[in-house]
């Protein structure tokens, strides 16, 4: 029976090639996105499956209950837990502590790279499946191991043992080993693994209950989970009694997680870096499903549109004794066949995507191919069954007595409403998708090219160490240079923090702090609303004058900008400084966040960057070589770290690959909608070939017929516009409001985009209508 179903299905597909192509192509373009999210799900379950003792390695996580009973779940735990477990509980073979620290950058004097870092104990390498290709585990303070990839990036070779890397805050590090490449899908993912001794040396947060890192235990082979539970309860009790003495009112409880079930995260744990929560996966999958749904609409729509031609078959089969469920089965088989063919196409598209638009926040490979293909196929069958179910139910309902007599006209089905709404939904959805993507694009471009918040144009940054003065003086001779500013770090990256308050009696507030000179502020073209720039200075001592932003005045309650100028504030608890000028709020950090209070102060010991403004546009390479020549005089053994600020910011903010991926997603959505429209229009014009023939014979002109044929579809597209524009605007508005700094929703752009979508749809309709209208009437009448 099933064979017979598939045979008929296959012949039907073959006979109606256009419809088959529309369906298979539509689904085939949508499926790769679904496959990709399925892979994310599978890879989440394949996280951390390469460690040597999967059945007795656990992570300890913490539930913190505060004094009013609120409970927060953390992936983290205090450092003492591992120490206590190790010392006092015989069932535990090893207990280790791992700390993840963000925002690390290392340099080898030539280049600086952001690195992803964790602190590890030597036993870490016994418990986990990270292997060293060369060297030894880091033990001493200021030692680390790094991945081959980073070794290559820093040194151009994987033979990095013994070399030195410098951290701006912690000083020089010795490379003691190089890691073998390891599977990316681990929550311990990192570029460098630094000795725990380093952490212990620099960490100031020694509070007993501070959740600083991750605790892992390796049970003895003879021990079981109950032993661990008992140990955890005992440790928690000890910590909680001590912390009551210390007057923290929080209560900690510890739980264990098998290392293999760390991901995906069902608990929505805090501090659970690099573990995807089940919610993220679901959102991801939701997008893919939405796309599939749109492609599924095409199937439903086209199958229903053709239902009349299938009606006879249904009648005959019923007369031959087919029961309704058997017919439903047959139609579902057809849809499943389409879905399986689409899967084949989709897989090819997926491979092409991997090739040409790799986005690295996706996982493109999984371990278990069997499970992967199993899920793919079951998923396709499921999608097929779902898409087939609606037409199957409707088609199998036909009464043989009626359809065989030919008394059922298309209008009798009363399904035009459903079909039309599907077309409208498709266009509304595609416009919304495209609007949102365009708005994001707009936002990213704004962030990448913005010169309103601070000036990036004609600015070159040169990293300096130690004494920069001679270099600075020498450079002023360069005729291209207009001004040389000095600053701790450039705007747009991480900021240093400072504590501020109005006077000694008050609580400290947090502010962003930049050591800068007057020239830097001029270079950045910050807008003063009161007071003046920092006083010009070349001295060695910290100045008592600061420039602040409006937000600082609001936070500290210093009144209007005019009133604030001349007032003093207390910086870092010890230094009274005078507000010399107030600048307008601007985004110097991350565009999502509202501005923090900002303090700019002349502080020569913290200057690490020359911010050079050129008079005009200069050639990067030429200018660099000029600077390098001067640099060589003072730093003969170090490479110049030089960047074009504008380009650097562009590269940081413009997610080219991601945008390409999103763009592709949009194009696919639009293609699916257009193909659906094409299919429906084709079907309707084909059905009216005879009518058109008669009308032409009676003297109707081509334009009249085209108008007649397109009328109802144009109406649908106009309805779609009526819904899509406002809904799309609202969605865009929501997304853009996630950014504190944005150019807003560009309504004009949305309108232009919609006109484009609208025209493409119109062309699709017109193409088919004109094609039908200019056909030779005699021919079409004869074939009837």
């Amino acid at each position: 029976m099933i064979r017979n179903y598939f045979k008929v299905a296959w012949r039907n597909l073959w006979k109606n090639k256009l419809f088959s192509i529309i369906n298979i192509l539509g689904l085939g373009l949508a499926i790769p996105f679904a496959l990709l999210s399925l892979m994310q799900v599978q890879s989440a379950y394949e996280y951390d499956n390469f460690h040597p003792y999967p059945d007795r390695t656990y992570r300890i996580i913490t539930d913190v209950t505060d004094n009013v009973g609120g409970k927060i779940k953390y992936a983290l735990s205090p450092q003492t837990v591992a120490e206590q477990l190790k010392q006092d509980y015989p069932s535990i073979e090893k207990a280790i502590f791992v700390v993840r620290e963000f925002g690390w950058e290392l340099n080898n004097r030539i280049k600086t790279l952001d690195v992803n870092s964790i602190y590890v104990e030597p036993a870490f390498f016994d418990v986990f499946g990270f292997k060293l290709a060369s060297g030894t585990a880091p033990v001493e303070p200021n030692s680390l191991v790094l991945t081959e990839e980073k070794a290559l990036a820093f040194f151009g070779t994987t033979e990095a043992v013994g070399k030195v890397l410098t951290h701006p805050g912690y000083g020089d590090f010795t490379v003691t080993g190089v890691l073998k490449p390891y599977k990316r899908n681990t929550h311990l993912r990192s570029d460098v693994m630094v000795s725990m001794a380093t952490y212990n040396k620099f960490s100031k947060d020694t509070a007993l209950t501070s959740l600083n890192g991750f605790t892992y235990v390796l049970l003895k082979p003879t021990a079981n989970k109950a032993n661990l539970d008992a140990a955890l309860t005992a440790v928690a009790a000890k910590i909680n009694t001590k912390s009551i003495v210390n007057a923290t009112k929080e209560n900690l409880t510890f739980r264990e997680q098998a290392i293999t079930s760390v991901a995906p995260d069902f608990d929505d744990l805090r501090g659970n870096s690099y573990v995807e929560s089940i919610l993220d996966l679901a959102v991801n999958f939701g997008f893919a499903l939405a796309l599939l749904l749109l492609a599924g609409f095409n199937y439903v729509n086209l199958t229903l549109a053709r239902s009349l031609s299938r009606a006879k078959e249904v009648g005959v089969r019923k007369v031959a004794g087919a029961l309704r469920h058997q017919l439903v089965g047959q139609f579902i088989c057809e849809a499943v066949l389409v879905a399986l063919l689409s899967l084949a196409l989709g897989f090819i598209v997926l491979k092409l995507m991997e090739q040409f638009s790799y986005v690295n926040w996706f996982t493109w490979k999984v371990d278990n191919q069997f499970v992967l293909w199993g899920t793919f196929i079951i998923f396709s069958i499921f999608i097929g069954a779902l898409a087939g179910a609606i037409p199957a139910r409707i088609l199998s309902r036909f009464q043989p007595a009626k359809v065989l007599k030919g008394t059922i006209a298309p209008s009798t089905f009363g399904r035009m409403g459903l079909r039309n709404s599907l077309v409208v939904i498709q266009f509304v959805a595609s416009s919304c998708f495209i609007f949102v993507m365009a708005t994001f694009y707009n936002q990213f471009r704004y962030m990448a090219t913005d010169n309103d918040n601070f000036n990036r144009k004609h600015i070159y940054n040169v990293s300096v160490k130690g004494d920069y003065r001679l270099l600075q003086q020498d450079l002023t001779a360069n005729k291209n240079i207009e001004r040389i500013g000095l600053v701790s770090t450039a705007f747009g990256g991480t900021t240093a923090q400072a504590a501020i308050k109005k006077n000694k009696q008050e609580q400290n507030k947090e502010a962003s702090y930049y050591a800068a000179n007057a020239e830097f502020i001029s270079n950045m073209q910050l807008q003063f609303i009161a007071g003046n720039n920092l006083p010009a200075s070349n001295g060695d001592s910290v100045s008592n004058f600061v420039v602040v932003n409006e937000q600082l005045l609001t936070t500290l309650g210093l009144g209007t900008p005019q009133e604030a100028v001349g007032k003093t504030i207390l910086l870092n608890n010890d230094r009274e400084v005078i507000i010399n000028g107030v600048v307008k709020n601007f985004c110097y950090y991350i565009y999502q966040f509202a501005t923090n209070p900002l303090v700019l102060q002349y502080n020569p010991s913290q200057f690490h960057l020359l911010s050079i403004k050129t008079k005009t546009e200069v050639d990067d390479a030429v200018f660099k070589s000029e600077i390098a020549a001067v640099w060589k005089k003072y730093h003969p053994h170090e490479e110049l770290a030089f960047s074009n600020y504008q380009k650097e910011m562009y590269d940081r903010y413009f997610p080219g690959r991601d945008m390409k991926f999103m763009g592709m997603f949009c194009v696919v959505v639009l293609i699916i909608a257009l193909m659906g429209l094409l299919g429906i229009v084709t079907y309707h014009t084909e059905k009216r070939v005879k009518e058109i023939g008669i009308r032409k014979v009676m003297g109707a002109s081509v334009p009249v017929i085209v108008k007649e044929l397109s009328k109802s579809f144009v109406k649908l597209i106009i309805i779609a516009a009526g819904i899509g524009l406002p809904v799309g605007y609202a969605i865009c508005y929501f997304f853009i409001s996630l950014f504190a700094y944005s150019p807003g929703v560009n309504l004009l752009m949305l309108c232009i985009l919609f006109c484009c979508i609208f025209s493409i749809a119109l062309i699709t309709i017109a193409y088919k209508a004109i094609y039908a209208a200019i056909a030779n009437p005699v021919k079409s009448l004869r074939t009837e």
Binding site: N12, E313, R317, K318, A320, G321, Q399
Partner: protein, 225 residues
Amino acid sequence: MLLELKNMFKWVTVGGNRIFLLKDINLQVQEGEFISIMGPSGSGKSTLLNVIGMLDGFDEGEYNFLHESVHKLKEKQRAQLYKQYIGFVFQQYHLIDELTVYENIETPLLYQDVKSSERKAMVADMLDRFNIVGKKDLFPSQLSGGQQQLVGIARALIAKPKLILADEPTGNLNSRQGEEIMELFTQLNKEGVTIIQVTHSEKNAAYAGRTIHLLDGRIEKHINN
């Protein structure tokens, strides 16, 4: 007795008015009979045939088929009954365009869960009998009208029904092809198959044992040939 209709009425309601399609039909059909139904276009012949074939319901009266009360059966049981005992032949042949001759004939067997080997034998038998073995892999569009109708009849006969219902089986055929079909029906009838056919041709009607004349949904007269 094979089937019996008693005081049967069928109507549709259009704009609040009842339009009668069948009025007070009383009919008894014995096993092995050959009956023709005649009447002007729109007189309800097809409607009557569909009701007998259980493809259509009725509103009043009784219908007994092999001592089962059809009007009391559920849809599923009705389908079970007709797929076992009744074969249909249509004026427009109604073959499935996507299936070959062989597969078209095989279709009813698929829905009766006949085993594959048995199906093969039965279809082969039928192809042989109708002399269309050479055409078994052709599609309906590749056959002439007469050949298509032969396939249609073969399909109706494949499941060995007791009753063949034929709605103007020769309506789209030329007279020579028509005659062949009538010869075939006569032959089948001799083998014990009950046949009820709708026809417009006096000549074809005469092949049957008796003719029922319909007018405006009412049986006007019975004529024994």
